[in-house]
């Protein structure tokens, strides 16, 4: 299996990647010739796996909220990659802001206005894609910016980084499952009625 580069360290799920691309979609980058790979999972199974996984992100720990469903609703045949595009922008944006925040809080005289502006942006983009736990960590962070509490801000930064890494890995896993479904000729389930 090919490893997807990760910003947040190794987080590839332990379970082995079960489905592989069909012959015709095999690109030159494919390390193992696809012909040798056995398709061990049918599309229906993969779709169920995707639903279970997506469900867990919403219900179990609240990584995502209803806004993510809105993004999925806005994806259609004319914009098949909308969710991946927007979420990729979120990754880029967040990584830049986390770097800026790390730098800003490392200064002798911390500019809390600047810190707050960065956190405000991160809160906005996490809320726009439905990364609920990142958003909540940002809300707590902003309170300490107001108090000008450097130590608490540093702890919040760690918290935000951690939440960001978790949701990033979860989303990447979800997208991988989607790629496998599509590669096997299936479509991404649209029935997500489990989210109240």
């Amino acid at each position: 299996m090919r490893k997807v580069p990760m910003f947040c360290g190794p987080s590839v799920p332990k379970r082995r990647c079960l489905a592989q691309a069909p012959k015709d979609s095999c690109s030159s980058k494919c390390i193992v010739p696809c012909r040798q790979l056995k398709k061990t999972m049918d599309v229906g199974q993969m779709q169920r796996q995707w639903i279970d996984y997506t469900k867990s992100l919403f219900l179990e720990k609240g990584f995502l909220d209803g806004q993510f469903l809105q993004l999925q609703q806005l994806q259609d045949e004319n914009n098949p990659d909308f969710v991946v595009e927007v979420v990729s922008l979120f990754f880029e944006d967040s990584e830049r802001l986390l770097k800026d925040l790390t730098f800003a809080l490392d200064q002798n005289g911390v500019d809390f206005k600047k810190v707050d502006a960065h956190v405000h942006q991160l809160k906005g983009s996490s809320s726009s894609i439905g990364a609920q736990r990142v958003k909540n960590a940002c809300i707590a962070f902003r309170n300490f910016c107001e108090e000008q509490n450097t130590d608490a801000c540093l702890r919040c930064l760690q918290q935000v980084k951690q939440e960001y890494c978790i949701v990033k890995n979860k989303l990447e896993t979800m997208f991988r499952l989607e790629q496998q479904i599509v590669a096997a000729g299936g479509s991404i389930p649209t029935e997500l009625s489990f989210i109240g």
């Binding site: 806005l74 909308f82 809320s127 726009s128």
Partner: protein
Amino acid sequence: MGMAAESQFHVLAVDDSLIDRKLIERLLRTSSYQVTTVDSGSKALEFLGLCENDESNPSTPYVCPNNHQEVEVNLVITDYCMPGMTGYDLLKKIKESSSLRNIPVVIMSSENVPSRINRCLEEGAEEFFLKPVRLSDLNKLKPHMKKTKLKDQKQGTVEKLEDLEVQQQQPQQQIIIQNEQQQAPKSRDLLQPESESHPHAQPTIEQQQQSLQQANNNSKRKTMEQGLSPETDRTRPRYSGIATVV
């Protein structure tokens, strides 16, 4: 109004965040609007054909004669919190401009600050959306755009007046706009910031009152308010906006 007509409505979306621009663009396109996005208030004004003649006196913008607005914009939707010119500043500039003030403006903000919401509505914003904006919010845009089309008729040559009586009044330099029957506004208090959804009728009334103030004719105003009653007999022609062309 069918889909074809609706798709002609053109929305200018202003947001400094790329993610949010992508999002609002998709939301609007999904709702069959034509969309232009820009990342700042000043670019929005530039697109609308408005520029400032004097940096030290930003309160006197004017429409650049050589940069006339080519594309009609039916509505501006803008983020509140932006570096440089805020959404509120942009709203004020649009409402201060004689050529742009009829364009409905909608403000979006991630923060639910009642004083901010009030300020924007008092300055003439049609709606205030909390971010992230959802598909259901966009349903509130359409009535404002229909209204703009009506106002455009009022400003330009009157093409679609169905009532002969109205046309006969033209020599007296009066143009009467017939309200769309299905949009019969309900009388409601202006500026109810607490109410989550602003009734479609509310800004209509507001603008009608503005028109009336311009007309400076109290007897007409009285007629108008009677005409606004939602229970009025629908078979009778009703005039809901009167303006005197100077």
